[in-house]
Symmetry: C2
Subunit: 104 residues, 2 copies
DNA sequence: TTGACATGCAGGTATTTACCTGCATATCTC
DNA sequence: GAGATATGCAGGTAAATACCTGCATGTCAA
């Protein structure tokens, strides 16, 4: 996994919105997605390119249209690597802080 | 939750490294953390400030030292909002793509 | 109290980023 | 084929970002 690509892709609100839009209806075209965004089509294309580079979105051409599909795998890998790790220690981490605040 | 702050904080490799360092040993000082980073102390301070603004790290002063602690709560919220949502539809999303590739 | 140590604060710069406009290409429909 | 439609590509700009250096402040320990 390329964590950097995935996190950088998720760091922009427009791109998270695109993922949400695709979650509501998968396989939308560039034009359809643009209808929900308040920016030029070319800007949306760039955002989708970043999502595709991070492997969060896959595309298929159908004639003159380009269909966009979510790929949930990188999100799951992010979870495995970055969320579960800290979650396991959740209680103990908070305990560390509490103990420090109380002056040990 | 301020998703933007959390994702932007996670979008930098240095900041993810800092979280890993704190996971190995919670409550480290700025100086301790800097030993593992190849950059000026002031740069690390900025990164820690961003992590703190995102509520991923909490700090406690002890004399002239500043101790840093991980707060895993925002990561869990990110998981709830951005990973589980897509995970639930994981199989169906892949099915959508497969069907499209096969020409429906 | 004085020197060493840990951190804070104020700029300065090069790169990246998120937009845009303008034009080109490819595909459908009539 | 011609016009409409969907997308691609090539710059151009303003703002954000990730570094840095230099100096100030606060704390410990002898």
């Amino acid at each position: 996994m390329h964590a950097d690509d995935v996190f950088k892709a998720l760091a922009d609100p427009t791109r998270r919105r695109l993922l949400d839009l695709l979650c509501e209806q998968n396989g939308q075209t560039l034009g359809q997605l643009c209808e929900h965004l308040d920016m030029a089509r070319q800007s949306a294309t760039q955002h989708l390119g970043i999502l595709e580079a991070a492997n969060l979105v896959s595309t298929v051409r159908r004639g003159r249209e380009k269909l966009h599909f979510i790929n949930p795998v990188p999100l799951h890998e992010v979870y495995e690597r970055w969320v579960r790790k800290f979650e396991k220690q959740r209680l103990s981490l908070l305990h560390d802080l509490k103990r420090e605040l109380e002056g040990e």
